[in-house]
């Protein structure tokens, strides 16, 4: 089995996942991920030429809603889920792009 997951991969992924890992955690994550890949690698033994990728288990489609407003103002209930709220809005740490 090839070693595809490097510490660099772990660094890239942790940036995308907004995680800070110390060297020991990074090494553990690297090993874990490599194990997962090795496990899935097994599937490559199958010949899947000409097989359409399966994205949904059930063969149905077109589950629609009609365009009718049935939800009212539930802002109080919704905001009850927020760790912090202010002026009817969710309060989050300052984010500037």
């Amino acid at each position: 089995m090839t070693e595809k997951i490097t510490l660099e991969t772990i660094e890239d992924v942790s940036i995308l996942a907004k995680l800070k890992l110390d060297p020991e955690e990074a090494e553990n994550a690297r090993k874990d991920m490599q194990k997962m890949l090795d496990y899935v690698e097994k599937l490559n033994e199958l010949d899947t030429d000409g097989v359409e990728p399966l994205t949904h288990l059930f063969s149905y489609g077109n589950v629609f809603r009609e365009d009718i407003v049935t939800n009212g103002d539930a802002s109080e209930e919704m905001l009850a889920n927020a760790p912090k709220a202010k002026d009817g809005q969710y309060q989050v740490p300052k984010t500037i792009e």
Binding site: H56, G61, F64, E66, G88, Q91, V92
Partner: protein, 476 residues
């Protein structure tokens, strides 16, 4: 020595669809509600909730795609685009990457070198994000999710545009088309139409593309033009100095007329797209496509051409009347009812557009009936009211949709063409304006206009002006 460059521009245009509800839940999409009053567990990304697709979103997407000559993926799917930012409570945006609903179309624009096709790479359906406000006092951000889950179409063009003029012509074309379809109101200022500009330069004659930048936050045609011109210059200066252009997203500041880098462009692979398992595929049979195709309206150009042909209007007038589908409909109905298409056109182009501007209204808000405008045209035609009075009555029709016949009767606004009564009033005017009469006799013909004005005033504006002039002249 300075190089000559060719500008290559491609556009990503987002339009907010005019559905009543959001794309995946039954919350209202109304603009301007109090923060978070149009939210539910689905559009705030609560665990365990399931999105259900709004059928009308597919209808609008098909209409826009067919109107722009696209092919349709008759089996299309939604994908998750993963990113972490508080405007998106799910931590992924539901969008379409692998099988967008529409692909490979084009629209035609007019350029100084004649008509030109701008190819459309794809059109996909996706959801909008919430709105973040930065709180200066507490050093935190506040989030309003009313806009989260509002349906969007993203229309991605090929890099086929070469100047700001072409970009604006393309956007105008899309906007008119989408407004005619009723799929969106396409207001740049309110954000229901947004354009991101991808721009690169290449040496004149070169076949390869240069590195492009993407510009965001362009909310007027003026801002788009300025941002394009500014970015052309910035990239040319870099290239002239032998420096590389960085691939990045830049945010335009229209007040400072300056753009600055936001973040280096994330690669598609950084978004870790994958098919959304919560949403089954959308299957679009031929009959559905045919039904939408059959219901496409007559668009602006065809309509304007027909007006020129059928009603002998000028190209300019036909263009103005077809600016909005609402005005075009009012015109056609009024023209049919009054049998005076030229008059109907004049009222709609002149007074209607003037009042809309004055009251800062959209044509879509017009709320008077063609029957009443046609009745007013008849009153003016048979001389029952003069021009001045007709304009006043029209304002009433515009504001309150009054019945002009009853209104004129009730307020005694009929033109006075009773010669005896006018003569009497003219005598009063002559007696009261001895100076002016004196000047008239000394040969100052122009003063007659003043006297006619006085007579109009004496009759509260209801005198037939030509008759008034005649009577004054004979009495003097």
């Amino acid at each position: 020595m300075k190089q000559t460059y060719e500008t290559i521009i491609g556009l990503e245009v987002h339009v907010e669809l005019a559905t009543k509800t959001k794309i995946f839940c039954s919350c209202s999409t109304a603009f301007g509600g109090r923060p978070n009053t149009h939210t539910c567990p689905v559009c705030t990304g609560m665990p365990g909730t399931l999105p259900v697709l709004n059928r009308q979103v597919v209808e609008y997407a098909l209409a826009v795609g067919l109107a722009s000559n696209c092919s349709i993926h008759q089996m299309c799917r939604f994908d998750r685009k993963n990113y972490f930012y508080p405007d998106n409570p799910q931590n992924y945006q539901i969008s379409q990457l692998y099988l967008p609903i529409c692909h490979d179309g084009y629209v035609e624009i007019e350029t100084e070198h004649g008509p030109k096709k701008i190819r459309i790479h794809e059109i996909h359906m996706e959801e909008d994000a919430g709105k973040l406000i930065h709180d200066e006092w507490e050093d935190c951000s506040l989030v309003d999710y009313n806009r989260s889950g509002v349906p969007l179409l993203e229309i991605v063009s090929e890099p086929d545009m070469r100047s700001a003029d072409e970009v604006i012509a393309y956007l105008e074309k899309l906007r008119k088309m989408i407004q005619y379809l009723g799929a969106s109101d396409c207001k740049l200022q309110e954000g229901s139409m947004r354009a991101d500009v991808n721009l690169s330069l290449r040496r004149a004659g070169s076949k390869e593309f240069g590195t492009r930048t993407e510009m965001k936050n362009l909310n007027s045609f003026k801002a788009i033009r300025r941002a394009i011109e500014n970015e052309q210059e910035r990239q040319a200066e870099l290239l002239d100095a032998g420096k590389p252009v960085e691939q990045e997203t830049r945010r335009w500041d229209d007040n400072k007329e300056f753009s600055r880098a936001m973040r280096s462009k994330e690669d598609a692979k950084d978004y870790r797209y994958f098919p959304d398992p919560d949403l089954p595929p959308v299957l679009i049979p031929d009959e559905w496509i045919q039904r939408v195709r059959n219901s496409l309206p007559e668009f602006q150009e065809e309509k304007a051409q027909r007006y020129i042909r059928e009603y002998q209007l000028s190209a300019y007038d036909a263009g103005l009347l077809t600016e909005s589908r609402k005005i075009a409909a009012l015109f056609e109905e009024t023209a049919a009812l009054s049998e005076k298409p030229k008059k109907a056109a004049n009222w709609l182009i002149g007074e209607t557009l003037r009042l809309l501007r004055e009251k800062n209204m959209d044509p879509e808000q017009l709320d008077f009936s063609p029957e009443h405008l046609a009745a007013l045209i008849r009153l003016a035609e048979d001389g029952s009211v003069n021009n001045q009075v007709a304009k006043k009555v029209f304002e009433k029709i515009f504001e309150e949709d009054i019945d002009p016949v009853a209104y004129v009767e009730e307020h005694g606004l009929k033109t006075v063409s009773d010669t005896g009564m006018l003569e009497e009033a003219a005598r009063r005017v002559i007696a009261a304006n001895a100076d002016a009469v004196e000047q008239y006799h000394q040969g100052k013909e122009k003063i007659l206009g003043f006297l006619i004005g006085q007579l109009m005033r004496e009759t509260k504006g209801q005198a037939d002006p030509s008759l008034a002039g005649e009577i004054l002249r004979s009495l003097l």
